[in-house]
Symmetry: C2
Subunit: 333 residues, 2 copies
Amino acid sequence: MTRKNVTIADIATQADVSISTVSRVLNNTAPVAAATRRAILDAMEALNYQPNIFARGLASGQSMTVGVLTQHIHSPLYASLIRGILEGVDHSPYTPLFVDGYWQREREERLVETLLRRRVDGLIVLGGTLPAEKFLETARQVPLIVFGHNVPGLENQCLQLDDYGGAYRATEHLIALGHRRIAHVTGNLEHADALARREGYLQALRDNQIEPIPELVVEGEYTEQSGLLAMEMLFGRGRTFSAVFAANDESAYGVRLALYRRGIRVPEDVSLVGFDDIPSSAYTTPPLTTVRQPAAEIGLAAARAILKLMQDEPLELPHIPMELIIRESTSRN
Amino acid sequence: MTRKNVTIADIATQADVSISTVSRVLNNTAPVAAATRRAILDAMEALNYQPNIFARGLASGQSMTVGVLTQHIHSPLYASLIRGILEGVDHSPYTPLFVDGYWQREREERLVETLLRRRVDGLIVLGGTLPAEKFLETARQVPLIVFGHNVPGLENQCLQLDDYGGAYRATEHLIALGHRRIAHVTGNLEHADALARREGYLQALRDNQIEPIPELVVEGEYTEQSGLLAMEMLFGRGRTFSAVFAANDESAYGVRLALYRRGIRVPEDVSLVGFDDIPSSAYTTPPLTTVRQPAAEIGLAAARAILKLMQDEPLELPHIPMELIIRESTSRN
DNA sequence: GCGATTGCTGAAAGCGCTCTCATAAGAATA
DNA sequence: TATTCTTATGAGAGCGCTTTCAGCAATCGC
């Protein structure tokens, strides 16, 4: 039950050099004569040497890990973000350390502490509810990349997303199809993105001379369940509508089911637009028109950014476009 | 950009004791006079002491991490497994280290190496394609819990699932509803679970005096896309059927879409059963009848098991039932 | 031809912690 | 009172690695 413990000293003996020299070829930190290097490499091979990560970390102060604080790792959007990060980090010497904050402020703070204590060399925070000052404080301690927040004073380390624009375009699309009475199921309004999406929706209406109707806006919380409930509430209000814009795909699924239960066809009777374009949205019935939030690409960008940041290389975050994906859940009114 | 480095020595000085004593209260490894302990605790508080995890790991040989090798972390089933593990490990002193094998043998082997090199104190392997001997070898090096494989000689560390029984029950349900021509979209037949599910399907047919029709069995690979394609193939074969049993929910979604595209209603014209009961299956239209694989519970059980195993405590894995969840995608023929 | 580089290597001092061993001071025993 | 246990503490030797600092050839410049 125990791994053989070959140390740098063993291979130094075997290759008949000092441990310093072994360390040198290990880290490529100073020139070593070709023959010596060869001998050392052979010895490492022969003894199946595995560096001890603790000793290395202790001596060098680096853990070669990057911490990733996600939220609801099981939600499709975050899962895709993680996949992107995994990909971005894959051929670097760093190993990611994932923790899930569950959108709970206290838990998130605790986990950031845990990661810092684990001496992560960099930190990526995806979403969550941490306040700006916490980000600023953390950024002072470790290279930090943030997604889902726009922290004043940390703009160049925040991956910005155009939630407003995406929502605007989604709404505009419905308007272009002739819809005038467009309902909106919001996300959790404690989150900035939900606010931005609602604003995009409202502004698109106004820009097209459609007076927003407050009764057509229902608060959801980004879950299927909440989408379903929101629709029940909407039906209860007795206002008619010919289209629904849901703040994310999952709530759109709930909306879809609520309509199904009432025998309302999509898109013939009511058009439906989601947001995020999670993988299964291409396979719903009908396939969902939605605003694509390229989560895997975002994750990839975050990973690349943190790698650069840790190397002190100049960093410029890519612009991430939000694209409207028109499928079959929307049609002319 | 750097954390203050308070060491055990600093707090020893501050509390006017030796570092040995500090270590003792830190690890509760020997009795310490109440007053002394108090002084040390105060000093730690005052100086905001954070133990250095590398030094500790180096000296003790423990990393306080448990490695988790998953597959396709973004697939709903694995995401739920992970959530369960997260929960199970949550209030233990261990931090999980997640890596994703992508169902690629070579990658999985590499990642197991990585985890071992990171000196994980325990390892959970979820699914994947590693051969039995690799598991046996690994189990010799580190406490190991496996889900999704039945490794001979390691039975008591493998979480067993009754794929066969689940599939049997799903098929039986369709038969009970009067269906006789039941198609099956398999999973990836290189995986044991796909084989077991197919076998359950076949046996249920036979046990009910229904001769299996080979043309009604189409190979899929557990994805929406493959479910869609499988149906195209099935339609091409020209055999009629009144029900489809898909080897997992995701392929069932693909099946659903294929039916939708041809104007075939579910469940009026064709009944559909999935497998896994991933979260969104309760919100498809219609909600999907499926075999519930309690992924979060499985993850939780795996986490508890590895914790016990690491403490050398006796371990007995729970029996995990597969329950048929009847929703609205199946009806009488 | 002699001091100054340059290229390669070794010795040794940490990094911050755990853990064994030794020891001092009381308490218990004889 | 002398002896043996306890109990609480300190000294110090690692754990395996990185990283100065020096040293020694061989080479270079003029």
